[in-house]
């Protein structure tokens, strides 16, 4: 029973990793931009939610704070893209890497300056600490369950957006061929800004569960980035459902490792990633390059 529980916890943890990874995958997929500040932007979003929750009347809950943070984070993504990242594209892979690496340093130090290095947690209002008892020895926390469900909803929603709407068609066309996309009347820079805004909204959703599941402080961003990368690569570039599976694999590897020896949690996650990288270098569900 203990192992069943371990695997269930790992799968649910995978939902969190998939949320970390989805925004990263979205920005890479549409504008071929690797955002090294992705993890720090998730942490930034967590602090935005903390501040909003502290401004709201007590007891109004973190979900309301999340909803209010969504337009703010959209603005952050849109602004970063228009102000900085659009200027780094069209040339080489290196400029966007350096600029986002710079963001990472600036965000971490900015957060340390404003919020100090104290670790924090989002305020709980009740439901967050509840759990469901499924069978003897297996109980599922509400937060991991809702987190996993959120990942499924976010990915289903993004897939709908990308494959069923006019703007999604424009995303795919621009990803294929930015120059020809301009000939369709698509302003690719504005489209990239919208994509970055959407990616940051996903970061805010990830940040909610980051802050509900565990403590966080300004320095934990890069490790989240690493999990996100692993989930994307295990799943295969270009497939959001693959990213969810990738997150689940990393999550299960971590909880199984932790079950064997608590010190092994992070190690087994990375080992699972390395094994898959060796066996399937293009990930489990790669999108064939057209």
């Amino acid at each position: 029973m203990q192992w069943v529980d371990t695997i269930i916890q790992g799968i649910l943890l995978g939902g969190l990793y998939a949320l970390y990874a989805t925004g990263l995958s979205l920005m890479f997929g549409i504008m071929k931009l690797v955002n090294l500040a992705h993890g720090d932007l998730i942490v930034l979003a967590a602090f935005v939610i903390v501040v909003l929750a502290s401004l709201l009347p007590p007891g109004s809950g973190v979900v309301l704070a999340l909803l209010l943070s969504l337009p703010i984070m959209f603005g952050v993504g849109y602004g970063l893209q228009v102000g900085f990242l659009n200027r780094t594209l069209d040339r080489d892979i290196l400029p966007p890497l350096i600029v986002t690496f710079g963001f990472s340093i600036i965000i971490q130090n900015g957060l340390l300056e404003v919020f100090s290095a104290d670790s924090r947690r989002l305020p709980l209002t009740g439901w967050e600490s509840a759990s469901l008892s499924v069978a003897s020895g297996i109980s599922i926390g509400t937060v991991p369950l809702v987190c996993f469900a959120s990942a499924v909803v976010v990915i289903a929603g993004l897939n709908f957006l990308i494959y069923r709407t006019a703007i999604g068609r424009a995303f795919r066309a621009t990803s294929d061929d930015p120059e020809t996309a301009q000939l369709m009347g698509i302003d690719h820079r504005r489209l990239f800004a919208i994509a970055a805004g959407i990616a940051m909204m996903v970061c805010a959703v990830a940040a909610l569960y980051l802050g509900l599941r565990a403590n966080f402080d300004p320095t934990i961003g890069p490790a989240r980035l690493l999990y996100a990368f692993e989930a994307v690569i295990v799943g295969g570039l270009g497939s959001l459902w693959g990213t969810l599976i990738g997150g689940m694999i990393i999550g299960v590897a971590q909880t199984v490792g932790a079950q064997i020896n608590p010190e092994w949690q992070i190690l087994t996650g990375h080992l699972a990633f390395l094994v898959i990288l060796v066996v399937r270098p293009r990930g489990l569900f790669p999108k064939s390059e057209g």
């Binding site: 068609r169 066309a173 990803s175 020809t180 000939l183 369709m184 009347g185 302003d187």
Partner: protein, 232 residues
């Protein structure tokens, strides 16, 4: 007033100057052909008009307004659409999605999916296929249909017949007068001179980035074209 007018248009790629003081005019309702050898600057001219290339000198006027400072996505909104060399279909989009994305600019007019399928019935049967799974000729039809979906006032077609089977070229050239009659003026770039002369109201010949000959097809002698095309 001319729909399109370039005045002493000069452009190029970085340090390389590809066009020198090019003057062309396209009147409303005309089909204009631009002929010339490889590297003469034909595609460059279309790209400059479509605002994919910077104007280094002179002006591009569309419907009386100077559009030299616009970018391609703005030119589409004004009604200038380019069928690029090599078709350039979007590989992750189906035939129908390729056509739909052509309408992204939201310009309204008589060209919608149904009209494009009426113009090129073979595309209707293949609407669910991926664009890149089609034959070259069908891809060219998608590229033309995609450009028409923005309901352009001016359609620029680059190398329409390049690499296509003669029977397909025939189909495509039959469609051009229908497009013109529906209210769109055309500029076609073509290496197949005979094909261009048959359909065009006016011909410009480019050689090494300069206009060497212009006139109505009936007025131009074989010798004059030969001289303008290859140089004296």
């Amino acid at each position: 007033m001319a729909l399109l007018q370039t005045v002493k248009l000069t452009t190029g790629y970085g340090d390389f100057q590809a066009l020198f003081d090019v003057d062309i005019e396209v009147a409303q309702g005309q089909i204009v052909a631009v002929i010339g050898a490889n590297g003469a600057g034909k595609s460059t001219l279309l790209k400059a008009v479509a605002r994919l290339l910077p104007v280094d000198g002179g002006t591009v006027r569309f419907d009386g307004a100077d559009i030299s400072g616009l970018v391609a996505s703005q030119a589409v909104r004004l009604g200038i659409s380019l069928v690029p060399e090599g078709r350039r279909l979007f590989p992750s989009l189906s035939v129908e999605e390729n056509l739909q994305i052509g309408g992204y600019s939201g310009r309204r007019g008589s060209w919608r999916l149904a009209e494009v399928y009426d113009l090129f019935p073979r595309l209707a049967e293949r609407r669910r296929h991926m664009g890149t799974a089609l034959s070259g000729g069908e891809q060219q039809m998608v590229a033309i249909g995609r450009a028409l979906m923005s309901n352009p006032r001016l359609l620029l077609c680059d190398e329409l017949s390049l690499g296509l089977a003669p029977i397909v070229i025939q189909d495509i050239y039959t469609a051009l007068p229908r497009i013109r009659d529906a209210g769109t003026s055309l500029v076609i770039v073509e290496q197949d001179i005979a094909q261009a002369m048959r359909v065009a109201d006016r011909v410009y010949c480019l050689q090494e980035g300069r206009i060497t000959l212009t006139g109505r097809p009936a007025e131009l002698s074989r010798e004059a074209i030969h001289a303008a095309y290859f140089g004296a």
